[in-house]
């Protein structure tokens, strides 16, 4: 199918005094799987509705392949939407739901039959065509919604939290299926979600939004491994924050960092930070190792801290430890996998004095939030 590049240029939207979107610009490449990620109220749905034509921006432009589409109503844009609640028509069968757009276009019965059959096969729902939406499970409704949204051969498909009504297992499954459908039809997918795991697992590009402003645009690994700011770091996955000051440069890539609560250690300069600048060094919990005693053979480029296990949460595939280092600050979070080959490792439990360490390259810096 034909797909389009979508360009958002300086788009703003306010509802009275409330700014849903502030001067937003981004480009979504042809055939990409693009996610708009953020907490509720961040403006992601507003942006999607502007692209779909359900909302007019207060300011700015929306282009499909260079053509301004703002003057066009939703039914004149080559865009279709998959709604959060599926929005299947309850009084029509699966077949008629999918056929609805073609009946509006007054296609012949034979054409309709062929196209509906084809699209229902794409989502593997061809055997359920005579059922009514109320007779379908959540996942099946979702598939019918996809089949219906694709029948007009849109160049861009908008997905508004399409999996939020499904249970966790099914969500995983549908996500893979969406990815497969995306590969098959090859059109641009714009996916709105508040679930970072969904966004990271299927997207080519992720745009993180908060309070109507773009926080970061990047590939899933860029977003996770080097968040642009504290908001992104906190929103995507879990992270430990160590606030302090750069006091000296160690070499071209490393600097000496001093924190009043955690002490002095070396940090990797993933971005420029002059001496004296206040930063937060951020480490993901899964990058930190934990043990009762400091191993004797640790390499030199690690930072080591000592603390006490304050709390632990067993989650099956790993245990989450809360290690108190400083009385004044929140404990650091450390994940530990349960694998038998760490034979020398002794079990760690509440109140144990522990040693934690991480490679200097596994931390990143973000500016200190106000």
């Amino acid at each position: 199918m034909k797909s389009s590049q979508v360009t958002i240029e300086n788009v703003s939207k306010n509802f009275g005094d409330f700014f849903a979107l502030k001067n937003t610009s981004l480009t979504i490449s042809k055939g990409g799987f693009y996610s708009l990620l953020g907490p509720s109220g961040c403006g992601k749905t507003t942006l999607l509705r502007i692209i779909g034509g359900f909302e007019m921006p207060t300011d700015g432009f929306v282009y499909f392949d260079g053509i301004n589409v703002l003057p066009l109503p939703p039914n004149k844009r080559h865009v279709n939407t998959i709604f959060q609640n599926y929005a299947l028509f309850p009084h029509l069968t699966v077949f008629e739901n999918v056929a609805f757009p073609l009946r509006l276009k007054k296609n012949t019965e034979a054409e309709i039959k062929r196209a509906v059959q084809e699209n229902l096969e794409l989502v593997r729902m061809e055997t359920e065509s005579k059922k009514y939406p109320r007779q379908l499970s959540g996942g099946q409704k979702q598939r019918v919604a996809i089949a219906r949204a694709l029948i007009n051969k849109p160049q861009v498909l908008l997905l508004d939290e399409p999996l939020s009504a499904l249970d966790a297992k099914l969500r995983q499954h549908m996500l893979l299926e969406l990815d497969a459908i995306h590969d098959k039809v090859g059109i641009t997918f714009i996916y709105v979600t508040h679930d970072q795991a969904e966004a990271l697992s299927v997207s080519d590009q992720v745009c993180v939004l908060n309070k109507g402003e773009i926080q970061q645009i990047g590939t899933p690994s860029e977003i996770y491994e080097s968040p642009a700011n504290e908001f992104v770091a906190r929103f995507i996955g879990e992270a430990n924050y160590i606030r302090g000051k750069i006091t000296a440069l160690a070499d071209a890539e490393h600097a000496v960092f001093e924190s009043p609560d955690y002490g002095k250690f070396t940090v990797y300069l993933d971005k420029k930070a002059p001496i004296g600048s206040e930063v937060a060094v951020t480490v993901r919990p899964e990058k930190i190792r934990i043990a009762l005693e400091k191993p004797s053979n640790l390499p030199i480029d690690v930072n080591v801290l000592h603390g006490t296990v304050e709390d632990m949460i067993y989650t099956g595939f790993q245990t989450k430890y809360f290690v108190r280092i400083s009385e004044k600050k929140d404990p650091l979070i450390v994940f530990r996998q349960h694998v038998q080959y760490f034979m020398d490792e002794k079990p760690i439990t509440w109140k144990d004095k522990v040693c934690i360490w991480w490679n200097t390259k596994d931390s990143f810096m973000v500016e200190v939030g106000k």
């Binding site: 779909g52 359900f54 109503p73 939703p74 039914n75 865009v79 279709n80 939407t81 709604f83 609640n85 929005a87 028509f89 309850p90 009084h91 609805f100 757009p101 509006l104 276009k105 009514y132 219906r148 949204a149 007009n152």
Partner: protein, 276 residues
Amino acid sequence: MRKNYGPIYVAPIAFWLCAFLSVPLLITLSYSFLTKGLYGGVELKFSLAAYKSLLNTAVFKVLLNTIVIAVASTAIMVALALPTAYYIARSQVKNMLLMLIIIPFWTNFLIRIYAWIAILGSNGLLNNFLSAAGITDAPVQFLYNQYAIILVIIYTTIPFAIFPLYSTIEKFDFSLIEAAMDLGASKTVALWKIMIPNIRTGITTAVLFTFIPTFGNFAVPKLVGGTSSWMLGNLIERELNITRNWPLASSFSVVLTSVTMLAVLFFMRSQSKKEL
């Protein structure tokens, strides 16, 4: 085992319906087959006289007139109530708007009909305005015809169409309209093809709630209708109070009730077929 309290719960309403609906209906039905008493009432002697006198063109004309008025008023009421209910359901101040529709009910039904006479009468508000504006020379006769009856019936009965429609439209999921527009429908087409089929129960209720009271209405045609625009209710009243032919009055009632029931059954049947 759980005790079944069902019969206890329905006992009061069952008693009520028996005493004040079924029994009176049976009495009416049996009266229609009895002989007319000399000064009203009935004599306990079987007779088909009442039904024989039904078969005359004057009665038939009244029946036809009743059907025309009831169907026309019902159609107009539902047609007017739909956009009204839609507007209220989509409004920010729905409670206030619903209140505005309820407020006229605080005034007595008959007084509201007399108010219309004051407006439409030959010396009424409308005629005074028209002659003052120089549009008419002599008063126009607005009252005492079918149109006056339809107008006043609509005025008094339309809330019964608005409320059921409002309650279904209010529950209707308007994201379906967005979905239809997303799939290529204009707003009008989306409302027509998606909203209307999904608020059918409301439409059915609105039709029944307006058709039934309209078909049996007698106060409105008595006050604002002329002798040429009589409805069945007026015939019943005349036979009961003036001519005092109770069997005939009963047979009219039987006809009125049967036609209403047939119409309702027919309508509900045609609606339920569309549901799956």
